[in-house]
């Protein structure tokens, strides 16, 4: 009878420990998912480089500059390109 009681107690302890571990795993997974969603929410910054827009496809200002170069037969082209590079 005593031996039977001891086995029953050990079984109860084993079951309780497995429930506690299961709970900790569930909470751990939840924390990981919350952290991932927090990281994903930080990446909600829309940048020109990340989005396929007209802004990326054609650089309007480069077009304007090259139009002006053509109109002046590329006079002072190197100086102008250096100045524009410095500004960028």
């Amino acid at each position: 009878m005593l031996r039977y009681k001891k086995i029953e107690k050990e079984a109860q302890i084993g079951e309780t420990v497995s429930w506690i571990i299961a709970t900790l795993i569930i909470i751990g997974i939840l924390i990981i998912f919350i952290l991932v969603s927090s990281l994903l929410s930080n990446s909600k910054i829309v940048r020109v480089g990340n989005v396929e827009t007209d802004l990326k496809k054609t650089n309007l200002l480069t077009e304007k500059t090259s139009f002006a170069h053509q109109l002046t037969n590329y006079k002072n082209k190197d100086i102008i390109e250096n100045v524009l590079k410095k500004n960028d």
């Binding site: 802004l55 200002l61 102008i80 500004n87």
Partner: protein
Amino acid sequence: MNLIKNKRGDKIISVYWFAILIIVAGGVFGMVYIFYGTPYDIREIEANVLGNQIADCVSYAGKINTALISNGRTSPKIGESFLKMCHLNFKSDEWQDEQYYLEVKIYSLGDLNNSILNITAGDNKWLSSCALQTNRQIEKLAKCIKKSFYSIDNSNNQYIIKILTVVRKAEKNVKI
């Protein structure tokens, strides 16, 4: 006696399941709130679009707008009507203060230190955000975009045009 013990165990297990259910539901709510509670920050694109609109207004097909510079002479009163000329309106019912600022500086190729024409519009208090963000972007401050290009006037005088656009609108683009 054993039957009473088993029933008590079942009750504890069902309370435990409810607790787990609440924790999981709370976790899912937290994830959705964190992700969807953060707005998309489109200010950089907005500042780029504004910069392009100004560039189109200042110079078209390589030639400077004659309302700004004609035969090497600058128009003195352009500052006041620049926004109207470029079809821009910085006033909005949504905001008490203007959320934009723009600066256009035109330099003659011969003197790149002193601008021959300086146009500003909008609220210049957002300009301080640009100085603070030279090394590192700070999300809660206004976004600044600098652009520069080359153009000529109708007498073929050469100019470098620098455009600075600032967009604030932090409340709608950043979680504060």
